[in-house]
Subunit: 242 residues, 2 copies
C-alpha cells in the first residue's frame, strides 16, 4: 500500500533538498518520488544528499505539467505552511497520513510539497482536497523542505504500523518480575543485614523498610536481579563479620 | 515548559548537522541545545544550516563531560536506532514526547542523540531511563541526525498542543526522581563499595554495574531514597573496615 503513495515536489530550487527528501522518504518506506520542473535534476548534490536512497532518485518521475504528476491519484493533499483564504479543509499530519494510507488501499494518492521560497501556489492548491499544516513555532515556522517531507512520511509509516499491528505502540522488553515470595525473602535478608550493620534499629524498622520496599517494588526486579542483590547482601554480611 | 527540555547532541561529527538540528528544534519551539564534544563548533557551516535559528546555536551549552550535560535532568531518554540486548524500555516517539513534556513541568529533562556513525554507546545508554526508537524502513533505517531531531521535536510540539487542549492525560511518577548527577554519585559510591566487598572485580565491573543501573533506573529513586541507599553503603563500608 505504501507503493501507492506518491510524494510530489513542485518546482524545487535546491537539488540538495531533492536528495534529502528522497532519503527522508526511503527511511519511512516510501519510494515513489515525482518531480515537477526541478531546477536542477539529475544532480550530483541531490545524489550526495540522498545517501543510500539514490535508488529513489533514479526511479523518480520528472514531469513538466502538474496534471501529469497527479494523473491517476484519487486523493491529493497539499502541504502548506501559510494560512489560506481559499476554502480548503486544513488537517494535521496524523490525519493526513491516515487518509493517504487508508485511501492508498484502493489506488494512487499524492502529497504535494511546493517550492522552498513560496510554497504552493493558488493554482496548485486548487488541485488538493485537503491541505496539511505541520504544527510549528508561531515565531519561526521555517521548516526545511526535506524536514517537512520527513515528518509527513514518518506519520505515514506510523499510520501503516498502526494498521498492521493495532494497539502495539509501546514495546517494553520482556521483563519477568520476581514472585512475591522471592521478594519477601529478599526483604527479610535486607532487613537482617541492615540491623547487623547498625543502620536499622531493631525496635522500629518499619518506616525505613517501608521506604525500601516502595523503591524496589517500583523497580520490580527479576529473579536474576534479586540474586545479584542478595549476593551483595551476603558479601556485606561476610565483610562485617571479618 | 518547553524551556525545560534540553536536546543533547553527543560527539557530533558534522557541524552542518548541528545547524540543521538547531533549526529543527526552533521550528518546534525548542531552544535548549547542549553539545557534548562536538568535532567542530562554533562553525560557519553550522550557522549556515541553522538558517534563522542561529540564536539557538549562540546560546548552546558546550560540555566536555556527559555528567555536565545531564546535571539536573530528572528524566533522560536516549534516541537509538539499534536493537539492544540489555533491557531498557524502548518507547515510540509519541510516548517519548509525552513523557518529556509531562515531566518538564517539574524540572529539566533531556533527550540524547548519539554520534552520526554509531549512535549511543552502552555507557551513554546507561544514563537513560528509556530509549526512543523512531519507526523506520527495516531495509533502510538511516535517518539523518537532524531528521531524527526533527521528528522527536515535532512530537514534543504535538504533545504540547494536546496538553493545551484538555483530555490528554499522561502518567507521571508520583514522586520526584533524583537528578542525573545525584544518580551518578550513587552509582560511583555503589561501585566503590562493591569492589571493597570483593563482590565486583575491579578489572571488569561493567556488566554487573550495568545491570544494577538498569534496576535503579527503572525505580527512579527520589533524593530521599538516594540518601537512604547511600547511608546503607556508608554503613557497609564502616562494617567491612572494622
Amino acid at each position: 500500500m505504501l507503493a501507492n503513495i506518491r510524494v510530489v515536489l513542485l518546482n524545487t530550487s535546491h537539488p540538495g533538498n531533492i536528495g534529502a527528501a528522497a532519503r527522508a522518504m526511503k527511511t519511512m518506506g516510501l519510494t515513489r518520488l515525482y518531480l515537477l520542473n526541478p531546477k536542477h535534476f539529475p544532480s550530483a548534490e541531490a545524489t550526495a544528499r540522498a545517501s543510500g536512497a539514490d535508488d529513489v532518485l533514479a526511479s523518480a518521475t520528472v514531469c513538466r505539467d502538474l496534471g501529469d504528476a497527479l494523473a491517476g491519484s484519487r486523493l491529493v493533499i497539499g502541504a502548506s505552511a501559510r494560512c489560506r483564504s481559499i476554502p480548503c479543509p486544513v488537517i494535521e499530519p496524523a490525519s493526513c497520513a491516515s487518509r493517504l494510507f487508508a485511501e492508498s488501499e484502493r489506488g494512487d494518492v499524492a502529497i504535494l510539497f511546493g517550492c522552498e521560497r513560496s510554497g504552493l501556489s493558488n493554482e496548485e492548491i486548487d488541485r488538493c482536497q485537503f491541505l496539511v499544516q505541520i504544527p510549528s513555532n508561531p515565531d519561526y515556522g521555517s521548516l526545511n523542505l526535506a524536514a517537512a517531507v520527513q515528518i509527513i512520511c514518518y506519520e505515514i509509516l506510523v499510520a501503516h504500523r498502526a494498521h498492521e499491528k493495532p494497539g502495539s505502540e509501546i514495546s517494553v522488553p520482556d521483563h519477568e518480575p520476581a514472585a512475591a515470595d522471592e521478594m519477601e525473602r529478599f526483604y527479610e535478608h535486607l532487613e537482617r543485614v541492615l540491623i547487623e550493620l547498625g543502620f536499622l534499629k531493631p525496635g522500629n524498622p518499619r518506616m525505613l523498610m517501608r521506604r525500601l520496599r516502595r523503591l524496589y517494588n517500583r523497580a520490580r526486579p527479576d529473579e536474576n536481579e534479586i540474586n545479584i542483590l542478595r549476593g551483595i547482601l551476603s558479601a556485606s554480611e561476610q565483610g562485617s563479620r571479618k
